[in-house]
Symmetry: C3
Subunit: 215 residues, 3 copies
């Protein structure tokens, strides 16, 4: 499987996972109808990669050019809409699909950035932006403070940065693509899920009286 094909397969899997995530969020958090569910599913699935392509200057973005990506996003949203009873048998389905999308997109985002001539540091950053971008748009549209800021229980940007760094390091060292991609995605998913399970979080600042800082 060529590196391009590998990236495409992982991208399609990430899009499908984020489409399920966004569509379930649309039904659960915003009680949207079928069209709203499809719309939020597509924004969640395609937002991160579109943001990445805009920042890289790859315009029009692949998400608007390649019908396979659009089709996969739509399918994911439809599966979530008609299969939500089945999906809700999973424990915390939204967390699972969000983690899957996060882990796959940090790897594919970094890979696309490197392939577009970005430096290693930029590629790590763009991988993380790709991974957190769609979910951030999703949260803004349904009026929630984005997970990347709150990471309610567990880390969110950190695992994405870790996964992207592993993918970039492996590529720079010319290691075989598939194991590198799986390692990056696996580490990202593990850190994300362990963080939620054991409620890892960064320290909070102890503020004095509310008037300590102005609005």
């Amino acid at each position: 499987m060529s590196p391009q094909e590998l990236l495409l397969v992982l991208e399609l899997a990430g899009i499908f996972a984020f489409a399920l995530d966004g569509a379930l969020t649309a039904m659960r958090a915003a009680h949207l109808d079928l069209l709203g569910v499809i719309a939020l599913g597509m924004v969640t699935a395609l937002g991160g990669g579109t943001l990445r392509d805009v920042l890289l200057g790859n315009l029009p973005p692949a998400n608007l050019q390649d019908w396979r990506l659009l089709f996969t996003a739509t399918c994911g949203a439809l599966v979530a809409f008609y299969g939500h009873r089945l999906l809700s048998r999973l424990s915390r389905p939204i967390l699972l699909f969000d983690t899957a999308g996060l882990s796959l997109f940090c790897v594919t985002g970094a890979g696309v950035a490197l392939a577009s001539g970005a430096g290693p540091g930029q590629a790590v950053l763009l991988g993380a932006i790709t991974a957190v971008g769609g979910g951030t748009l999703r949260d803004v549209l349904v009026r929630r403070v984005p997970t990347v800021l709150t990471a309610t229980g567990g880390l969110y940007a950190v695992p994405a940065l870790l996964g992207a760094a592993i993918a970039v390091a492996g590529t720079e060292l010319d290691l075989p693509g598939l194991p590198v991609a799986l390692a990056g995605a696996g580490v990202c998913a593990a850190v994300r899920l362990l963080g939620v399970r054991y409620d890892w979080h960064a320290p909070r600042a102890r503020l004095r009286a509310p008037d300590a800082l102005d609005e």
Copy 2:
């Protein structure tokens, strides 16, 4: 009238309608002052076309280059601010201006996309993105769940996709520009207004207990 001139005229009309829409929303939903009204009017009027140009890579966007577009958006906001008593005599003015902008922008967006070398499918999608983009930014800025997701009573993205599809099909078939544009905009407006009138909406998923899905 050349195709370019036709697109410009329709774009100016759509910008004016969306500027009225955004400015009235700023007064009605957010009680902003004159400057806030102008700002929200301009974001609503210029947001969709700017997003379209960014996605097409037409940078800097026409909305920042052509003073006529900026001027029209400002005029629309000022008319809404000083003429709101008159405008509020209309039944549901915000709905009317939003529908006008939606119908004109799905056609102009698709036309600009085709003229920039986008394929038919992409052009339909970009037409719809142009049409719903400004209103979505408007809703996010005043902290409402965007109409494109909720479409409270009636459809929103569907009429935009229909209008854009008609415009693209007509252009591909080399039909004369003006009738095609009017047909696309007319169908979009009709479907939008009939949808509101008769409360068309897509099915909602019947969720089980709230704990069926995690947050």
Copy 3:
């Protein structure tokens, strides 16, 4: 000091100020943890310049390419996190840092736009967009109506437009860079702070009954 060096120094200062602003907002308004504080600080500090570069087609944006900009933003966020007790001794620190960032970015944004071949009018507009962009993203992410719309007490977009106009006029007249930049930033800061101090605001529309306009 070459014009490029001057722009870089002012940009770094603006990024630092906005990073403090965003990070303090994250602690005060959203009670985020260290990672959320860094994330919101970086979005606030780098959002405006990234938006400017996207609109100018300078891709990838300087904010993703130049490690000095990323490093400064991170430092600002860390200083705010660990030094918030000290910073909160200032009267209204968020207002001060926000004003500093606004004043510096309207000048640097206009300068970068001119250097990228934008016309004077566009450059003024892009300067203002650069100045208000980061704070607007910050407010949307923590679910507040953006300051640029409400400008609660005092003006926000107007001082940015003034500062950018002065910077553009000075550059067009080939006046020496440093004094021009200081004049632009100084006027912007003065108008912003005086506006807050004396509660300058534009007129509000007197609306009739709530039903005067539809939702």
